[in-house]
Symmetry: C2
Subunit: 208 residues, 2 copies
């Protein structure tokens, strides 16, 4: 079985748990808590020298970091990784967009608000960048059901994680009808599990 | 033939030109200059609503944005995209690292210095983040010849683009013997072309 070192309240970790649920793969989930020092512990830093989570340990003991690379691995031989090379390329394109433009504005603004950030210029910059990313998604979803075009792909899972919680970063999705429809479509997929479902079903990390 | 909308002095554009050179694929290169307003022009925004470059138009007219997705496309059926799924996953993992941790510190600090940025706190933050990324690369290269492990992959091309010019962002590579060896190894690949070679061999963008 694959093992995921996962963080609560992390969209990046949720992506990996969600693709496992959607594709009906068992996953051994271990909760790592940065506040408890887990990600700075010696045994964890051996897995990832930057102390980042999530990390997947495959059943053959390969160590995979970066949530979107984990999605790629877990989606092999499922409909979430398309067969056509151009569609594969477009899927990756949306995933690089997610990590460069989307997560660093939408997720980062949410973290900033949660820690009570008072730097107004920073918050405004993140707001501007976040709405630009949402505009681009809306533009695509006007003409396509999914980021995988006709069916959901790992790009949909990557983008869903922080988009459906964008209000927590102060983003108003009411201006984005196509995004709202798409969120509902993802939530209606067979075996879908909600973000809140993450809170249960895991073991705690132990530094040994 | 594939067409690349490319920017001079862009490591992200250089990646795409370099993989084409290394794999001996002809490429129709069109230079877009943001200072001239090219990336804000109506015809360009139709290709990418965020006005980003590079963009690849494939011979079958698919529009691909994100430099690392373009690398994936151009490397299909070449040795730069490994056959083994775990190695493919690790290659993508390094490429997501490149776009999340490496480019936003090492390339962004270079741009900041070039525009005469005076915010010392920002420069220090970028320096800290950039050295953390370089540390992680050094750690890997102590035990592996390439990011593709035994042979160069598109992760090597993605990381080479801004690493070999890291001094322009104020980063001292003398502390990183394994990175310096790896840079030499990439520069020694058959059909390698230098960053400066980009300055030639392109057409100019015309908004029509």
């Amino acid at each position: 079985m694959n093992t995921l070192y996962s963080m609560q309240n992390s969209g990046n970790s949720y992506k990996c748990r969600l693709i496992s649920a959607l594709t009906q793969q068992d996953l051994n989930v271990i909760n790592v808590d940065p506040k408890r020092g887990d990600t700075r512990s010696e045994s964890y830093l051996k897995l990832n020298t930057l102390g980042k989570a999530p990390i997947l340990i495959t059943q053959n003991n390969a160590i995979i970091s970066e949530s979107n690379a984990i999605l790629f691995y877990l989606a092999q031989s499922t409909s979430f990784w398309p067969e056509d090379v151009v569609l594969q390329t477009k899927t990756l394109s949306w995933m690089f967009f997610e990590q460069y433009d989307h997560e660093p504005s939408i997720a980062v603004r949410q973290s900033a608000l949660m820690r009570g950030e008072t730097d107004e210029a920073l918050l405004q910059k993140l707001e501007y960048k976040g709405y630009r990313a949402l505009d681009r998604m809306e533009e695509h979803l006007k003409d396509n059901s999914y980021f995988g075009e006709e069916q959901p792909s790992i790009a949909d899972i990557a983008l869903f994680a922080y988009t459906h919680n964008a209000h927590k970063g102060g983003f108003d999705l009411d201006k984005y009808p196509a995004i709202l429809n798409w969120i509902e479509a993802i939530q209606s997929l067979a075996h879908f599990k909600s973000y809140e479902w993450q809170a249960a079903l895991h073991k705690e990390f132990s530094n040994s």
